[in-house]
């Protein structure tokens, strides 16, 4: 089984201050650390586990600047055989453009595959769309929110999709297909710095993105970045930690949950 997995390098913004700059035209990420998109980490792990059973190879593909090589090295350290970088200095927001670049790339480079995995969503843009758009463009069956794969053989995949409120559905798809992998499907293996260093010795291929952009013009564009509209917001408890704790206990008592 040959599986292509798409992995994106994203800002790990959860604990960082995000500052909007240039009158809303940009977000300052200069001091923010970057990492592999969490959902893609699960997708690579799942692909590697399948290939360990069925034979074949996992190829990790990233669209991004030269730094996205980090993500490819990490994927190789996890068990991917190859890493392809579709290189661009632009940030492409439109998920249709990203999917179009990918489908053009797959056609032009005649990359063979039995399945394509993506993450459910990018942590930064949360479009949760590149996998589905790509599948449709390729005319392949698609499923997202994949939280378990029961079998992957004889030209078929049986998998579980996550719905709402803890409910799931079991579905069957024919190969080749595109699957978007949900977090929690597995426990991604630990990758040591040594492992990543060793992975650096494996050649990664670079493809300039503008080779795959002819057939597409932007469908949506970003006009401006804004901070979230302020809601009522919380009453902030400040001061010494021990005093804050006493305040908290008072609030609990007031709300009838703690003596």
């Amino acid at each position: 089984m040959n599986i292509l997995v798409f992995a994106k390098r994203v800002a790990a913004a959860q604990e960082e201050e995000l500052r909007i700059v240039n009158d809303g035209q940009g977000v300052d990420l200069a001091k923010v650390p970057f990492k592999m998109n969490d959902w893609d980490n699960y997708a690579i792990e799942e692909a590697v586990r399948i290939v360990e059973k069925t034979g074949g190879a996992v190829t990790a593909v990233s669209i991004g600047d030269a730094e996205s090589d980090d993500v490819l090295r990490r994927a190789i350290a996890m068990g991917a055989k190859d890493g392809f970088l579709i290189e661009t200095s632009e940030t492409i927001h439109d998920p249709n453009e990203r999917a179009s670049v990918i489908s053009d790339f797959l056609k032009k480079e005649s990359t063979p595959f039995d399945a394509i995995f993506t993450g459910v969503q990018s942590e930064d843009d949360q479009f949760a769309s590149v996998g589905g758009i790509l599948a449709a463009r390729l005319g392949l069956p698609y499923a997202s929110m994949i939280i378990g794969i029961d079998s992957f053989e004889n030209g078929q995949v049986t998998a579980r999709r996550e719905l709402e409120g803890g409910l799931r559905e079991r579905i069957k798809l024919t190969l080749p297909c595109v699957l978007s992998i949900q977090s929690g499907i597995n426990e991604p293996r630990y990758v040591s710095i040594m492992g990543v260093r060793k992975a650096s010795k494996v050649d990664r291929k670079i493809f300039p993105m503008n080779n795959y952009q002819e057939n597409f013009s932007n469908m949506i564009e970003i006009i401006k970045w804004v901070y979230p509209e302020k809601k009522a917001g919380a009453t902030m408890l400040t001061g010494e930690l021990s005093n804050i704790c006493k305040d908290v206990l008072g609030i609990l008592k007031e709300n009838g949950v703690c003596q």
């Binding site: 913004a13 930064d124 599948a135 069957k172 426990e187 006009i223 804004v226 930690l241």
Partner: protein
């Protein structure tokens, strides 16, 4: 005629509440509303829409991207191009919208939570609501969106008359993706929806070893412990303890969130709690917008301090 096509989400015979957000958005656009729905006996207020098109198909086949594009093609043949096709922001809505966008080559914006009609600007969350992007279409043409639940439902209003209704001729069901069965969650674990006081932990607590300390605090406070998705994904807590869209919707007297950022999928599961207290070391954390009380602090330090006081 210009119209908005609302693709309804029916799950286990229920017309999901979030369909009202799709209807509300159509009203903002001032379009006639055509509701696409699988044929069946559902409780729905038909007066919200102008037209209903029924598809002779099981709900599980209806919410399948391969069949959906066939149904949409039929609708377009019958009614012409809609100005917009609207899906819910859900597991299936997201899947269907992206597939339809790729198939019909139409622009797509997902998780839309605001719309400026004069300027044609769509508001979309980035970085779990820490910032938002204002997007525009580059062309006038039809487009596809998913709308965030709760954002537009107030704009859903009854029309003066009942809708016209018609049924599509049978559509060819795809063999390339088929439904097998629904799987229920294991119900032997504690039911967090019944708890009056939830102590809920997120990725911000750092690692699994910290859980024991939170369990201790929960015992001292007589709280039940729950968590955000990453905590469950990493198996620090069992799945039935997950709060959020793909976990449980809870409404305790007190929801005490520690090290949780406040992504939409989490907020949707706890925002109606009577009292929300949030601890986060990031003053910009979106959860502070929904909390009644906020504390900018290290959650683990606050936990230890509370434990000391409780042990008195």
């Amino acid at each position: 005629m210009s119209y908005a096509l609302v693709v309804s989400e029916i799950r286990r015979g229920l017309f999901e509440d979030r369909n009202l957000d799709s209807i509300g958005f159509s009203n903002l656009l001032q379009r006639n509303i055509t509701l696409l729905i699988p044929e069946g006996d559902y409780k729905i207020n038909e007066k919200f829409v102008n037209n209903i098109i029924k598809v002779r198909i099981e709900e599980s086949s209806f919410l399948n991207p391969l069949n959906m594009i066939t149904a949409l093609e039929k609708v377009i043949n019958l009614k012409g191009n809609p100005d917009v096709i609207i899906f819910t922001l859900s597991s299936s809505g997201t899947e269907l919208a992206s597939y339809a966008s790729g198939h019909f080559k139409l622009p797509l914006i997902t998780d839309v939570s605001g719309y400026d009609k004069e300027k044609g600007i769509f508001l979309k969350s980035y970085y779990s609501d820490k910032i938002f992007g204002q997007f525009k279409l580059t062309d006038t043409g039809p487009f596809i969106i998913t709308v965030r639940s709760g954002s537009f439902k107030d704009n859903a209003v009854e029309k003066a008359s009942l809708p016209a209704s018609e049924t599509l001729e049978e559509i060819q069901i795809s063999k390339n993706r088929t439904f097998i069965e629904y799987i229920e969650e294991d119900s032997t674990e504690i039911d967090i929806t019944k708890a009056e006081f939830l102590l809920s932990v997120g990725r911000g607590i750092g690692n699994q070893d910290e859980i024991a300390g939170y369990e201790e605090l929960a015992a001292l406070l007589k709280a039940v412990i729950s968590g955000s998705r990453p905590v469950i994904d990493k198996m620090w807590l069992p799945k039935p303890r997950q709060v959020g869209t793909s976990g449980k919707t809870v409404k305790p007297k007190v929801y005490f969130a520690m090290g949780i950022s406040g992504a939409f999928q989490h907020i949707a599961g706890m925002k109606d709690s009577d009292c929300i207290i949030a601890v986060n070391k990031d003053p910009q954390a979106p959860i502070f917008q929904y909390a009644h009380y906020g504390i900018v602090a290290d959650a683990n330090k606050l936990r230890d301090n509370l434990k000391v006081i409780m042990k008195g």
